[in-house]
């Protein structure tokens, strides 16, 4: 038996694992990344797409902190779109179709060329905590690795089962081997394990699709890359196609309802409401005549297309009928079956805001093992866990993100505060301060933090400082007065009423139809890049709302800044309701703000805690 020593072992090489391992290695930790199969590094097991609402924002935040996902997506693009145009800057969300093979290979190459990082195939079968606080990880081939900290990024592989009708296999996604033994170690180490479910649609062959019955969707050329380090993105390499299910689809599903594992009881895991299978959609929303189906390219190198909107766990023979009932897919050739997958995950309320287990120092968790869903959510946790594992090993202060500075902060606070009853997906509506957490200002929000941590290199940092400087220069010009002679022609051309009086640059820019570029044409904002111009424009047009949001943050922070000592015995606090006592003792919130977000803790309980804290301060 060999013993190999590392600073940190990352178990799993998916989207969380890659970010965690890269962060830890780049920060100087000798890091081992274990994967059951090296062909699964950064594998896009479900849709071949990165970004989307709230997720696009997360990708940009990872980038600002010095992570890899954005850069890797930019390198693997098939097409890019900006969702929610017209609905406001807070919800603009970049979404990309990426080449899943290229994405995997690019990430694997980055991992391989990163100093301090060792990629190793092997199924982790047991984790033990040694008396000195270090960890030993054993693999299926009886190798044992030792490290000061471990980061578990096991995705959906723990005890996973894939389900197609009544055909159930003990397998990970896409037939990859699962991890059969690790759950036992987790239970022994005191983790509460529950079972979640998700699913994926079939992959079909492009040349068997009747594209004439679909609507082609290309990418958009004017979207900025995900990464602030990428200069430009390529033109659309491959299109998507939009089609619809039919009345026939409804009939087939209704007729075969008894064969659906989610309805006949053979699936126990809890599935996400936001990711319903086609049978779920049709049975729950019986009134809806047809459902949208997007056909998305998996890669430039293959003809496989992903049938978005039609995941299913029906028997393969019924799946054939379902897919054939979709417009344009009448003669489609299925290449891979749709399936549902069930897996073990832990209760993330056992973790603190650094994603470390509260009861086991040095043991971190990130990604779907924490009950979340989505590549972006996983990667966002991965980078935070990786950074904190390094800080733990080197004895530095923990690094946490906040609800008012990032979606990742919202995500981690949510999952470590509220027990998930279904896989957690990020949505803009979960972020109460979304007017401030925009995709366009992720760099302004987080680059400084990434720099302090040590993941933002000089070139990237200089770029950020340059942008900040430009914005400051522009802001200085906002009070300058422009004569009607100068702005008149522009206003006429843009259908803005001319008042005849002089206007400040700020007043001009606040007009609905005037952009910062227009103001630039009047001789202001010299030599300013487009992204800095855009910041100026938003700051002016949304100033009132942004100010209000900042006030709201200040209000919220009053509770957020009241720490709750870690050793409070809530069961002894007079007046707290029983449920609140139990929940507070279990979750042990950091502060009153987090306490208030725990389900089962009422505003009255918070009042009592405030009184309790006041009394205790008084006593001291």
């Amino acid at each position: 038996m060999t013993n190999k020593n590392y600073d940190i072992i990352v178990i799993g090489a998916g989207h969380a694992g890659c970010e965690a391992a890269l962060a830890s290695a780049r920060l100087g930790c000798n890091t081992l990344m274990l994967a059951t199969n090296l062909d699964t590094v950064a594998y896009l097991a479900c849709n071949p797409s990165i970004g989307g609402t709230a997720k696009g924002q997360i990708v940009k935040e990872i980038d600002a902190l010095g992570g890899e996902m954005a850069i890797n997506a930019d390198k693997s693009l098939l097409q890019m779109r900006m969702l929610n145009r017209g609905k406001g800057p807070a919800v603009f969300s970049p979404r990309a179709q990426v080449d899943k093979n290229v994405y995997h290979i690019n990430m694997k190459r980055t991992v391989e060329t990163t100093p301090n990082l060792h990629l190793r195939q092997g199924e982790a079968t047991a984790i033990e905590r040694n008396p000195d606080g270090s960890f030993s990880v054993a693999t299926a081939v009886k190798l044992v690795y030792k490290a000061k900290a471990v980061v578990l990024c096991c995705g959906v592989y723990l005890n996973s089962r894939t389900i197609v009708g009544d055909c159930v296999r003990n397998s990970g996604p896409n037939g990859f081997a699962n991890a059969k033994y690790l759950t036992e170690s987790l239970i022994e180490l005191g983790f509460k394990v529950s079972r979640f479910k998700t699913g994926t649609p079939a992959r079909v062959k492009l040349d068997s699709i009747d594209l004439t019955k679909t609507v082609e969707q290309t990418g958009e050329a004017d979207v900025a890359p995900f990464s602030y380090a990428t200069d430009s993105i390529p033109a659309t390499k491959r299109s998507c196609y939009l089609t619809y299910s039919t009345a026939e689809t409804k009939r087939i599903i209704s007729d075969n309802k008894q064969l659906a594992p989610i309805y006949n009881g053979s699936i126990n895991g809890v599935g996400p409401r936001y990711c319903p299978s086609i049978e779920d959609k049709i049975i729950r929303f019986a009134d809806k005549e047809r459902h949208q189906i997007f056909l998305e390219p998996e890669s430039e190198e293959t003809d496989e297309f992903y049938v978005q909107g039609a995941s299913s766990s029906m028997p393969a023979s019924v799946q054939e009928q379902i897919y054939h009932s979709i417009e344009g897919l009448e003669n489609v050739e299925i290449m891979r079956d749709a399936y549902a997958i069930e897996y073990d995950c832990i209760d993330a309320t056992q973790l603190d805001a650094t994603l470390m287990a509260k009861h086991i120092p040095g043991m971190f968790f990130a990604g779907q093992i924490n009950g979340t869903s989505g590549y972006e959510e996983a990667a966002g946790q991965g980078i935070v866990a990786g950074i904190n594992a390094e800080r733990y090993v080197h004895g530095k202060a923990p690094f946490t993100l906040r609800r008012d500075n990032s979606y990742i902060g919202v995500l981690i606070d949510d999952i470590t505060t509220k027990e998930n009853t279904e896989p957690y997906r990020m949505m803009t509506s979960r972020a109460e301060h979304r007017l401030i957490l925009r995709q366009d200002n992720a760099d302004l929000r987080l680059t400084e933090l990434g720099r302090q941590i040590g993941l933002v290199d000089d070139a990237r940092y200089a770029k950020y400082l340059h942008k900040k400087h430009q914005i400051e220069q522009c802001e200085k010009q906002l009070k300058e007065v422009v004569s009607p002679k100068l702005y008149g022609p522009l206003f006429e051309q843009k259908n803005e009423p001319v008042s005849g009086a002089g206007l400040t640059v700020d007043e001009i820019l606040r007009r609905t139809n005037i952009t910062a570029k227009d103001v630039q044409s009047l001789g202001f904002f010299d030599e300013t890049d487009d992204d800095a111009l855009y910041q100026i424009e938003l700051n002016c047009k949304y100033r009132g709302y942004i100010e209000k949001e900042k006030d709201a943050i200040e209000q919220a922070n009053k509770l957020e800044n009241k720490p709750l000592p870690n050793d409070i015995d809530y069961s002894k606090i007079d007046g707290l309701r029983l449920e609140a006592r139990q929940k507070l003792n279990k979750i042990r919130p950091r502060n009153l703000g987090q306490a208030g977000r725990i389900l089962g803790v009422s505003p009255a309980d918070i009042q009592i805690l405030i009184v309790y804290l006041a009394q205790n301060i008084h006593k001291q």
Partner: protein, 432 residues
Amino acid sequence: MNKTIVALSTARGRAAISVVRMSGDNSIEIAKQFFRPFPQKPNLLKLGTLTTSHFDEHAMCVYFVAPHSYTGENTVEFHCHGGTAVAQAVIETCLEHGAVMAQNGEFSKRAFINGKQNLTNAEGIIEMIDAETASAAKAGANLLENKLGKRIVALQDTLLDIVSSCEAALDYPEEDLELPTVETSKQKLTDILCKINELISTATLGKVAKYGIDVAIVGKPNVGKSSLLNALLGVDRAIVSDIQGTTRDTLTESVNYRDIRFNFVDTAGIRESNNEIEIEGIKRARKAADSADVVLHVTDDPTDRSVYPTIRPQVRIYNKSDLFKSEPCCVDSLVVSAKYGDVEIIKETLYEMFSAQDIETSDLLITNERHLSCLKQAKLQLTEAIADCDKTTLDVVANEIKQVWQTLGQITGTDASEDVIDRIYSKFCLGK
């Protein structure tokens, strides 16, 4: 373990019976020590002997077991003979055996803390206790039945529908959702605004019901203001003399007329003065008039046509009618003689003025300051949101509507941000 509290639950003073209540983990054990035979079952009123250190009292006792009681804790009630002495002795006995005196409103507070009452319920009960007039009691009863709560929840529900539609549109831009148009959403928001306005407009009535109407009695010195107050009260409360400037400070006394409470404020006579104390008194008189709901401008000169300088509604009173030689010059005024107690017409006029009719028939009154300020804030936020529908983007408007919803939630004490997400998924078919 929490403390066991005790208090007199019925009003102090002369009455046929009084009820003393204890609540807390130990209340049943405490009661068993001095009440025999103790009821064998909860919720059963039982006659027995209550032994105090002074005398034995024949009383009834009933106990309730947590959480099936008003406070959600173990509770014991003693129904004993009326009168202060008996109740006092029973309370002392409880205290001797380990209970502590309850703070004001502590029973309701415990009920709230133990989840037996939501915020509006608890506030309703406190108002009911405070209610000093019949209509105030009715407003309290409405809160108690949670009429306000129900109305607010209904408004929140409509808002939740609108918010979830907006949020679904924002979070699922690629789905072909059947979403309401801006126009229909605006219409719905405007309807909600109307309902909030209706609720707010009952607040004035609510204040009248709860606190009564403030009536300032002002006029020159020696016109008989203090006599008028005494006549209105039916007792000699204010000092009356022929010396000008007898009344120096303001004096407030309340009287119920039918179901409305009037708070009459007697004030110093207004004239030029060098006396420091009198100057202060006059200043207070003016202040009382400015903050009153109505001003009684008193004069004893039938030829006086002057108007008291105030923006408040005022009624001119010709006092000392017994001395008048001619009819007063202004017909729209009231003519009385405080000396002979002939002042009913003033009460009747005031009663008419404040449309007591409305108070009796209105089924909902906002009497609570906190509720009113929440509603006013919701109104402001909603007005802004409606205006912003045309002015700015959906991301902003959706936030604003959500805030209105949260503000209303402060009244009912509910705030569950998960609700929006739950509603989105129950209403729309979403996802890949």
